[in-house]
Symmetry: C2
Subunit: 305 residues, 2 copies
């Protein structure tokens, strides 16, 4: 073991406004969502997932997707991906001015069946024309693979199945594939082994980490994968959100805690941590709760380096 | 990077009954403390820190130290260290049947001054006859060095100062020296570098990790240090406790979350995780709060391996 972590920059993909807010039961006004996205971009986050063009019947909280995306003052150099489940969603996203979309699939048959009533292969078939059409139209496509380290319905998920999907999504032209530990069951050894297997298939630069902190393992898993060359990490300001379809799945990794670790490792993120903590406290107050991040709960940070 | 974590066993030092309970404002009955210690030992934990023979004026919660220690049905093969601040405490501990004591010192002058009104060198001088007398009497002595990665009063702490203390404590005959990140500010790179420096001085086998989760970094720090050969880790069931003298210092690493990570890494601990989670829920309920561990909050764990 050398213990060396390179100082190459890590790109953080902020998913709070979409992945975080989508499960809020009380409607959040579009103006608040827009303010959140703009504040996050102003913190220096290079990618802020803005909203989701899923059917409002599935996720009522995201019914204002077009309004949010259109109302946004976009910053140069910041990407604002939007989630898209199908061709209809893609059309709505394009009409609203989306430049980057994100598609999703689970690595578990049981999860795909419960979530979208399809086998994994059927899910891949459905997603294929969406990606193709988006790319044809000049959009960039990100892909989420969920349940990569375990499924709430079937338990174990074979790493080979994850690798197969990652390769297929890369072949379709997705510029980035995010590995989602949807229920947060992964531990560092399995996380890094899976990352390495996927990196062997498509390269490290094409992969993102999307770890949940349900079992408290998210940061340790990120750290282990950094050692394997991971350079893109998804996180949610104030730890907002979780997965609505997965029992016990709560606790997105909080962006503040991730940034604190990365900066402590000497890894540049471009993010202003003080401003990010303030943003996390603000949105938490708006939602009427304490921040789920650790950093957001510390009254006075101590500088010890 | 090989990513290999050896499968050598890790010894967990459970500190909940002492480090955890000492800050409880409401008195906890001795019978409850005894039940907690006995339950923890029954989970398979090899070391359960039982109580503290500090002055009841300083820590009223530990005024029943002798009663707790004497009332305990000890399990064969389990050690029950007790904290001892001075010769008077040592005498009380011996009289109550202690076989292992723990002494403490901070690596920061500012912290020692505020905590015990002494410089670090004076603190070391005060501690020296306590360790000598304990060893002469046939007791084993563990030592805590606190603020090893940062001090709430002075900020940065020089790694060389930590190494100096670790070496001094080893020379005095302490069988184990626990490296305490009292305020939880450490990140994995600094944690592993400090561990390595200390291990170069006294060997890995003589060191324990004592990380707080205040900044959410504790498990990542443990993981990084495991890669450097760390094999003893302190943790507190249900995340009980923190440091009463350090502003913002809360959040002991929860034993449940640590055990989950270690078992996920294929590292044996001897601990029955289900029973431990149950114990953490029980003591949290007794104290009238939700467990601070992540595992304790999960309704139904999903087995994914």
């Amino acid at each position: 073991m050398t213990g060396a972590t390179t100082t190459a920059a890590v790109r953080i993909v902020e998913v709070g406004p979409r992945d975080g807010l989508q499960n809020e039961k009380q409607p959040v006004p579009a103006a608040t969502k827009i303010e959140l996205i703009e504040r996050l971009a102003a913190c220096g986050l290079p990618v802020v997932e803005a909203t989701s063009f899923v059917s409002p019947k599935w996720v009522p909280q995201m019914a204002d997707a077009a309004e949010v995306l259109a109302g946004l003052r976009r910053r140069a150099g910041v990407a604002y991906p939007v989630l898209v489940p199908n061709l209809q969603g893609l059309e709505r996203a394009r009409a609203a001015g989306a430049e980057v979309i994100a598609v999703f699939i689970a690595a578990s048959d049981a999860f795909n069946r419960r979530n979208i009533n399809a086998t994994t292969d059927e899910a891949l078939q459905r997603l294929t024309p969406v990606v193709a059409e988006a790319i044809r139209a000049g959009l960039k496509v990100r892909a989420y693979v969920s349940t990569v380290l375990g499924c709430p319905y079937q338990g174990a998920v074979a790493p080979a199945e994850v690798v197969r999907l990652v390769r297929a999504l890369a072949d379709l032209g997705c510029y980035e594939i995010s590995l989602g530990d949807t229920i947060g069951v992964g531990t560092p050894g399995r996380a890094r082994a899976l990352f390495r297997a996927c990196a062997d298939a498509v390269g490290t630069a094409r992969l993102a980490l999307h770890f949940h902190d349900t079992y408290g393992q998210a940061l340790a898993n990120v750290y282990a994968c950094l050692e394997e060359g991971a350079r893109v990490v998804d996180a949610s300001v104030a730890g907002l959100g979780g997965c609505p379809y997965a029992q016990g799945a709560s606790g997105n990794l909080a962006t503040e805690d991730l940034v604190y670790m990365l900066h402590g490792l000497g890894i540049d993120t471009g993010v202003d941590l003080d401003r990010l903590v303030e943003t996390g406290r603000w949105i938490s107050a708006v939602l009427g709760r304490a921040p789920a991040s650790r950093l957001g709960r510390i009254e006075r940070r101590v500088t010890c380096v």
